[in-house]
């Protein structure tokens, strides 16, 4: 019974994830593309729930939907009028990109199903035990990657400020020599 429930949940979550992802790629309206990201990310959060990774359901909704998607939508609203929506939204690579992606997908599917996989052997603990294990691993065995990620995030945010900051007056339109007047 639970196996059937799992299959039904998997198929519906697949539809909830794949179709919006295709719409993000295919739609011409930028704001629609941003809103189509939402069901796609929610679908991935649903997959985390199905995989019993409870902590990441919350993280996915908090970070991806609450922070990253809102930031992208913000940039989308800012630059919406820069590119004419009636103009062509894709470059000349469409056919080749489709062919290469299709071939890559077929190759990875072939490699996935070439050998039978052994069934799921592990039974993850409940949400509390799993989150405790994750937190302990983060400060013991994986302490160095965790700290490296923190430093990376800090460096990225400082770099974003430095890149986006411009001391140049907007009227002085210069060429593309990349000259930056002092900070």
């Amino acid at each position: 019974m639970t196996a059937h429930l799992g299959t039904i949940a998997f198929v519906s979550l697949t539809a909830l994830t794949i179709l919006p992802a295709i719409m993000v790629v295919s739609t011409r309206n930028l704001v629609h593309a941003g809103f189509w990201m939402l069901p796609c990310l929610i679908g991935v959060a649903g997959f985390y729930a199905l995989l019993e990774a409870h902590f990441f359901v919350v993280v996915q909704i908090l970070i991806y939907i609450g922070a990253i998607l809102v930031l992208i939508m913000f940039a989308l609203m800012l630059t919406r009028d820069v590119m004419d929506p009636k103009e062509r939204q894709t470059n000349a690579m469409g056919v080749w990109a489709g062919v290469i992606c299709g071939l890559g997908l077929l190759a990875s599917a072939h490699m996935l199903f070439r050998h039978p996989w052994v069934g799921v052997t592990s039974h993850p603990g409940d949400a509390h035990a799993q989150t405790v294990a994750l937190g302990k691993a983060l400060v013991t065995r994986y302490a160095l990657p965790f700290e490296a990620a923190s430093v990376l995030l800090l460096a990225a945010l400082i770099a974003a400020i430095v890149i986006a900051k411009s001391m140049r007056p907007p009227a002085a339109s210069v060429g593309c020599d990349g000259e930056v007047s002092g900070g």
Binding site: I68, A75, M83
Partner: protein, 103 residues
């Protein structure tokens, strides 16, 4: 309670999601849509990590998912700054126009 969906189905779904993202990155002209497609690709990778971590009963899959999420947040911040900078220099954000380094 275990929902017996085989791990390879998750991995195939992850591959499909990744290929959709690659197609978007390769074809779109608006950098913000390209960033959305990169987010889709990162989500596909996360899904694969979590599925494999569960398959092998290892906490490492979830750890790396967390690191990828941190990288994704940094990537979006840098990317939006680059878009702002690109618009200041070139007066457009069309990626077909941003071919300064092209031979």
């Amino acid at each position: 309670m275990s929902f017996a969906v085989p791990t390879e189905h998750y991995l195939l779904l992850s591959a499909v999601l990744f290929c959709i993202g690659v197609a978007g990155v390769a074809t779109k002209r608006n950098p913000i849509v390209v960033f959305m497609c990169i987010e889709i690709m990162l989500n596909a990778a996360n899904l694969g990590f979590v599925a494999l971590g569960r398959h092998f009963g290892d906490v490492g899959g979830q750890i790396y998912t967390m690191l990828i999420i941190a990288v994704a947040a940094g990537e979006v911040a840098i990317g939006l700054a680059i878009i702002v900078s690109l618009f200041r220099t070139r007066e457009t954000i069309d990626l077909d126009e941003a071919d300064l380094l092209k031979l």
